[in-house]
Symmetry: C2
Amino acid sequence: MILSTLDVTEADELADSHEAQVIGHCAVASDVLSRIGDKWSVLVVMLLSTGPKRFNELKRLIGGVSQRMLTLTLRSLERDGLVRRTQFPTIPPRVDYELTPLGHSLCEPVRALGAWAFENYQTIAEARMAFDAREFR
Amino acid sequence: MILSTLDVTEADELADSHEAQVIGHCAVASDVLSRIGDKWSVLVVMLLSTGPKRFNELKRLIGGVSQRMLTLTLRSLERDGLVRRTQFPTIPPRVDYELTPLGHSLCEPVRALGAWAFENYQTIAEARMAFDAREFR
DNA sequence: CAGAATCCGAGCTGATACTG
DNA sequence: CAGTATCAGCTCGGATTCTG
């Protein structure tokens, strides 16, 4: 179970140290990150932040995702209560996906991280090139 | 190459739409997330935010990490310019890891996400249980 | 102490075909 | 349209062993 990485025993053992709090706090942050850190979740959440979308609409917008992965991504977002799925029993079937309030609240910190990424990804790219250049001496 | 998921052709094709910007912006965010969204990077960065640490010191503090994964995590953080590695040619060898200014700047948005996680992970856990309960009807 | 190298199994992923 | 089912390929990650 992902969200119980920090079980009670471990927490108690380290209860006093300052690092324990850092670890505890970050274990939770880490779990959330590994949840939304996959290839598609953030993309989906951010696209849904502008309003409800249908399945194939998302698929087209994202572009590089297989229908299998989009299904799995949406299902796990729904499971975590970030996305609400509404299906209309029409023919052909129609399914809408939209963010829950919880999903919307996630957008803010994600946008903060996105802003950081946007400001620094060139620096990162340069650091990588410099690093890789030193590899081949 | 991770940071070029959004290549120029795609960017041009979608240049006008509003979603294009969402996608473009989020592709970068997504790359960064998939970079730090792995199991250990955030933990390492946050631990280093309190000061330089040695290899086995980090290993002990984190607890559940194999030395292989810690090595790989540190190396890729170093490659991205988030961590500086300093080795002292003593016997036994000693290696210090510390955050670069770039690494420190990452702490802020990550902390924001951590705060969100801390506030909401119980809600998420409940949503999961509710979802899983509905599975078995 | 701080790794590098190797092996190997579990799990993620994409492609493909099928369904209501 | 919006999925499900199945299978093969590949990557990830842990355990173990070896080195300067």
